[in-house]
Symmetry: C2
């Protein structure tokens, strides 16, 4: 197909999504939950087909020499598929965000002005080759009353098609429009670009992925966007930090799952505690195969450290690598975070009340911690019940996005003949 054909196809999917969204807007919680449970069951019934499609994806990815980490993310098996189905059942059990009255006031002229929570409409999502995200995103969008257009990584194309087919059949059986959940049926880049430009049809586009994808979306999209997730996260160990707890937290934030966006990437240490803390933490990190890269002052204390370069302060390693810098003060730590951070998650480890307050106030990130691991930045851990991604922008949603972040509001006004004077 040429680019124009691809664009037309994406547009017709967006039109179908908009029509579906119109029906979903008025769907009852019971109808949506019934569909979610049917979708969960359908994944079970179609597991042979889905796993066969996934096996074909994996074979093609291996032939292309894709890294083993990516192959792992791409891989489905009975257990992972039933975990995804279980996720849909959990979403069905969550409260429906739609229809809640957010506020209602009576104006002096007797008008009653309220704000009601409503679906966004049509949500687009561009994501990596992770078939479980296909299931999660479809479930969350449907529960919030939105139609979704899925654009997963091309390596997962066959898997996604099989999953969406199963979910569509379930929607059809339960009476909700199958176009509520659609996948882009073309792996061409032109299809992704077309999705970014469905102004008036797509109400929000959520790009999940690396810096390159985000930049492409910023440059090309005409629809509203929620930017997600680069996480160059920091932990600042203040002078008064209890050292044992600080060690536990730093090791947890770096090592518990290094490949995710809420893992710590730079450790800042107050100069007043560096002599005592740095040798111990450097040794513990080395034991866990973490490559630490230190500033000059930290290398005076622990000469074995590799030398950090300017680029290290900006890097989201997503790996067992940690940049370490000794700072003079809380103010220098905050300045460093302001300069190099991505506004994701930052923590201060301290026993100083004023420093804790200052850090919480002055650090301008989606999640700011006192005395805890940055690894908690997650919809489930924060009690949102679900997660659609982690926003690093300030508009609409900031930090982990749950069901509420997939909704908008509208004003409803009850009058009795009022006119404006």
């Amino acid at each position: 197909m040429n680019a124009v054909d691809i664009e037309n196809k994406v547009k017709s999917q967006a039109l179908a999504a908009k029509a579906a969204a119109r029906q979903l807007r008025s769907a009852s919680t019971t109808e949506k939950n019934t569909a979610l449970l049917a979708m969960a069951n359908a994944l079970g019934h179609s597991s042979d087909k889905i796993l066969a499609a996934n096996a074909a994806d994996i074979a093609a990815a291996k032939a292309k020499g894709i890294s083993s980490a990516l192959i792992d993310r791409l891989t489905l098996n009975e257990e992972r598929l039933s975990a995804a189905a279980h996720g849909l059942r959990e979403v069905a059990a969550l409260p429906d965000p739609v229809g809640a009255t957010v506020s209602m006031t009576r104006r002096p002229n007797g008008l009653e002005v309220g704000r009601i929570r409503v679906p966004l409409g049509v949500v687009g999502i561009i994501y990596e080759a992770r078939p479980n995200v296909t299931v999660d995103a479809a479930g969350l969008c449907l529960k919030a009353g939105n139609a979704v257009i899925l654009r997963g990584g091309s390596e997962a194309f066959r898997s996604n098609m099989a999953i969406v087919e199963a979910m569509n059949a379930a929607l059809e059986r339960t009476g909700l429009p199958p176009a509520s959940v659609q996948a882009i049926r073309d792996t061409d880049r032109a299809a992704t670009l077309a999705l970014m430009r469905q102004t008036g049809l797509v109400d929000v586009l959520i790009p999940r992925g690396g810096r390159g994808l985000i930049r492409t979306v910023l440059e090309n999209a005409t629809v509203p966007i929620i930017e997600t997730g680069e996480g160059n996260c920091h932990i600042f160990v203040d002078e008064s930090a209890p050292l044992d707890a600080a060690s536990r937290i730093v090791l947890n934030a770096k090592c518990q799952r290094p490949g995710v966006c809420n893992a710590v990437e730079t450790l800042l240490i107050h100069q007043g505690i560096a002599d005592r803390f740095l040798p111990a933490i450097a040794a513990s990190l080395a034991e866990r195969n973490v490559h630490s890269r230190g500033c000059e002052r930290s290398r005076e204390i622990v000469p074995e450290l590799e030398a950090a370069q300017e680029a290290d302060w900006e890097t989201e390693y997503l790996d067992l690598v940690l940049a370490i810098k000794v700072v003079d003060s809380l103010a220098e730590a905050i300045d460093h975070i302001d300069k190099y951070g991505t506004g994701h998650s930052e923590a201060i480890l301290t026993n100083d009340y004023n420093n804790a307050r200052e850090f919480l106030e002055k650090v301008d990130s989606a999640a700011v911690y006192v005395n805890a691991s940055t690894r908690f930045t997650d919809g489930h851990q924060f009690g949102l019940g679900a997660e659609m991604g982690i926003s690093t922008q300030k508009l609409h949603a900031r930090g982990p996005m749950g069901l509420e972040e997939l909704t908008s509001t509208k004003f409803v006004i009850y009058g009795s003949g009022q006119t404006r004077t």
Copy 2:
């Protein structure tokens, strides 16, 4: 200056705004209110200078043959300037939205996870040649703790520079950074384009203006946007509508101030009431110099009506013109609004409980009314205390935007050594 010089200048303004925003983030309510009152006083003290600049703008606009309606919007006088200053004092009296704890919960592991209201950071605004908006926008942004970059219509350039100079001096005197309020110092289009592309520096851009401006912004911006206000607003007169009230409301929504976005542009009339309602309302509209353009069925009832063309259903007249269509049913009215509306404000006039509920639920607009004039869609009328514009998008803000819509939230997490398992 060439385009690169202009871009560099805008970028240096954006950098200064970001630095100012960092200071404003921690400014107390008292500091901000003191600055707002000083800004109000400064407008008074500098009124000679501001009015002289405005006179020069008006002379230049007249020489260019600008329409009298636009000249009126551009014009300042002692009264209008002191009204703008009064507006700043009113904003000072409003509650500070920053710092409020939106939610705070304790998780099973003892973490306390809260959401705190914080400033957005740097707000950009592109608007018409209305110098009073310069004052309003600066006041609202400052109260919400944001730095603002103002890009007013070029016809108001001298007025805006004089206003911003006065406000900057007031900021300086009260100890807040003058870069909190900046105007783009170049009328070249390249400056506007540069403002749209300050990713990482500008947190949100609010374009106010016609379809052309919005389209340019959608095509070129890389920063997050809040789209504002084209209003192709509808009133549907249902079969059960009380006719006297319906006439009053329609006349108010069309005639009270036809040039604004919440004025009604299309009147939909249920066929069961058209014979009785249409002749009366058509006569009343004609008396008030409204040009009505009717569908075929309405012209069978009132043959004097001009014939409406397809384009009429899509037009925001902003003038004493009204499109009129007879519809078979509530469903047809909703379909018409869905097809032609801009999602701004729509009203049903009815005494039927179920129809009122159905209209409120199915019409997907920022403001949906029962039995009142659409002219109430306004921050002050809705009780928000202020208005920065009216959003017609669903992300972040929908409908009139007050101070709260100029803020974001951040998660703060109080721990006692928690790590993730």
